[in-house]
Amino acid sequence: MRTHSAIAEPGAIRWTLTAFAVAFLALFVALPVASVFLQAFEHGPGAYLAALTDPEALSAIRLTLVAAALSVPLNTVFGVTAAWLIAKYDFAGRGVLLTLIDLPFAVSPVIAGLIFVLLFGAHGLLGPLLSRHEVRVIFAVPGIVLATTFVTFPFVVREVLPILESQGSDQEEAAVTLGASGLTVFFRVTLPRIKWGLLYGVILCNARAMGEFGAVSVVSGHIRGETNTMPLHVEILYNEYNFVGAFAVASLLALLALATLLAKRLLGDGSHGGQGQPGASQEAR
């Protein structure tokens, strides 16, 4: 269709529009990302490595990995279950359920942190109960895991659901007719067909879990070496004018983001009707 001259813009307009769009993306997106790496290496690779091997940086990296290792599997199990439920069964309230699952997208990260403070904090609903049993949730690792889980709640559902819906239930029904149990159907029929979309959903969920700032900031208490995650450590270093340190830790998070985008290219984008194999969606774009 682009070859029909009747419905194409003159070359000059085409190139002007393209130039504006490319310039906008270069200035607004590419430059900030590039500047992260440039500033991280401003004082050479030695200073970069020193900033990353600093004990507090290492402890922040460790805590970020722990929080993601707990919240991502939880949301993956939930995401697959909820996507199966919504795609495979017809029941009243499917739309309401989907809207409720989307809620964490609409809630400010700060409010996501606040609700757990109101629930588990010293003055919170369950605060007195927790302090009686000397359990710490807020200003401790459990609060960070909870806040992270809340914020990354919808990601896996939203990646897996469109794939399940586009595939229909024919194969699952055939398997059930032939006598397979529900779990067998899921692991032998459904899972192989959604695995790449699911993998991308998990990678996306993980990227958001590791990069979450607002919600974690509210519940963490910023105790150095104890409740500092990588994004919080970036903030502390930046506010202390330790720019090389801040950008060095930030560069790890930026690499994670770039790897996530690469995974999207390689695994295909589930919501464009991927057929359960890498790159299947490319033709749809």
């Binding site: 269709m1 682009r2 009747a6 307009i13 529009l17 393209t18 490319v22 993306l25 607004f28 997106v29 900030p32 939880l74 279950t81 909820a82 199966w84 439920l85 495979k88 069964y89 809207t99 409720l100 989307d102 809620l103 997208f105 609409a106 400010s108 990260p109 700060v110 409010i111 606040l114 609700i115 629930l119 003055h123 609903l125 709640f153 990601f155 559902v157 939203r158 990646e159 469109p162 819906e165 229909g168 239930s169 029904e173 059930v176 529900g182 990069g211 700032f213 607002g214 900031s217 994004p231 930046y238 720019f243 930030a250 930026a254 983001a257 770039l258 996530t260 985008l261 919501s271 774009r285």
Partner: protein
């Protein structure tokens, strides 16, 4: 966030799957239903309900007093104004980027398409320090504006730029698939009937993509309202001037003013609910309109 705009592009399930689902042949409904509701309730609904419960313990006059104090009003005004400006900028630039990516071939197009998703994947704190260091008075770009006396970082323009960065993917990813799906016959008919290219765009194309543009705008606006990570670095956080609502909530919390934080957060939560409902309605309509066109 990423899944929301693409949801607008989601193709409806083929009709036969509806029929099969209704037949109820697959086992496991009660287990998956029970588990989904339990987990949703535990992680999302119960904690959110606690916020509303805490807010309900305050008297209406108390809430009004907190929400209407000058500092809170200024924060609401600043958050709304900056988010609205950023969402408008996103609608404009997002439409441009979506148009160019959907219609033209040029070297580096795949890279540009990938760049659009960067704000989804890049942690907001990283975006915040990167933009701040570029736009600060001594930064690479900020210095150019500082020379002519314009302050970007630690002032309103910086906040708008950061919010535009964060919201960029929403408009592009809702408009782009609609542009790709448009039937060229419509444009050909307009051209044959003597319409200029600009007329065709304004009277044929724009009405067709407008619902998706509006959806992308609303998504970018909703995202901007709640944004915290990048703004806390770039805004300078001057109370009454460049203080956003999420930051005010954090400040109240740090001063152990739980009632204040709760009241302001509850108002914002209700606004977010309304926006989410409006967006869902828009997306349902967009999807229905596209189903008819197909």
């Amino acid at each position: 966030m990423s899944a929301l705009p693409r949801d607008a592009a989601r193709t409806e399930a083929p009709p036969q799957s509806w029929r099969l689902r209704r037949s109820g042949l697959l086992p496991g409904f009660s287990f998956t239903f029970g588990f989904t509701l339990f987990y949703l309730g535990l992680i999302v609904l119960f904690p959110l309900a606690v916020l509303l419960l805490k807010a309900a313990q305050l008297s209406p006059s108390q809430i009004w007093g907190i929400v209407s104090e000058p500092r809170a009003l200024a924060a609401y005004r600043f958050s709304f104004g900056a988010s609205l400006t950023a969402a408008l900028l996103n609608a404009l630039f997002g439409l441009l980027v979506a148009w160019v990516l959907a219609r033209y071939r040029f070297p580096g197009k795949a890279l540009c398409d990938a760049l659009v998703d960067v704000p989804f994947a890049l942690p907001t704190a990283v975006a915040g320090i990167a933009l701040t260091s570029l736009l600060a008075p001594n930064g690479l770009i900020g210095r150019l504006f500082d020379a002519v006396g314009i302050q970007i970082a630690f002032a309103r323009p910086g906040v708008v730029i950061a919010l535009t960065f964060v919201g960029l993917p929403f408009v592009v990813r809702t408009v782009q698939p609609v542009l790709l799906e448009l039937d060229p016959a419509l444009e050909e008919a307009a051209a044959v009937l003597g319409a200029s290219r600009l007329q065709t765009f304004l009277r044929v194309l724009l009405p067709a993509i407008f619902p998706s543009l509006l959806t992308g705008f609303a998504l970018a606006f909703a995202r901007a309202l709640g944004e915290y990570g990048s703004i806390v670095f770039i805004s300078g956080n001057l109370p009454g001037k460049t203080e956003i609502v999420p930051l005010l909530i954090v400040t109240k919390l740090e001063q152990y003013d739980y009632a204040g934080a709760t009241a302001i957060a509850a108002v914002m939560l209700l606004l977010s609910f309304l926006l989410l409902l409006a967006i869902n309605l828009l997306q349902t309509r967009t999807r229905a309109a596209r189903a008819v066109r197909k």
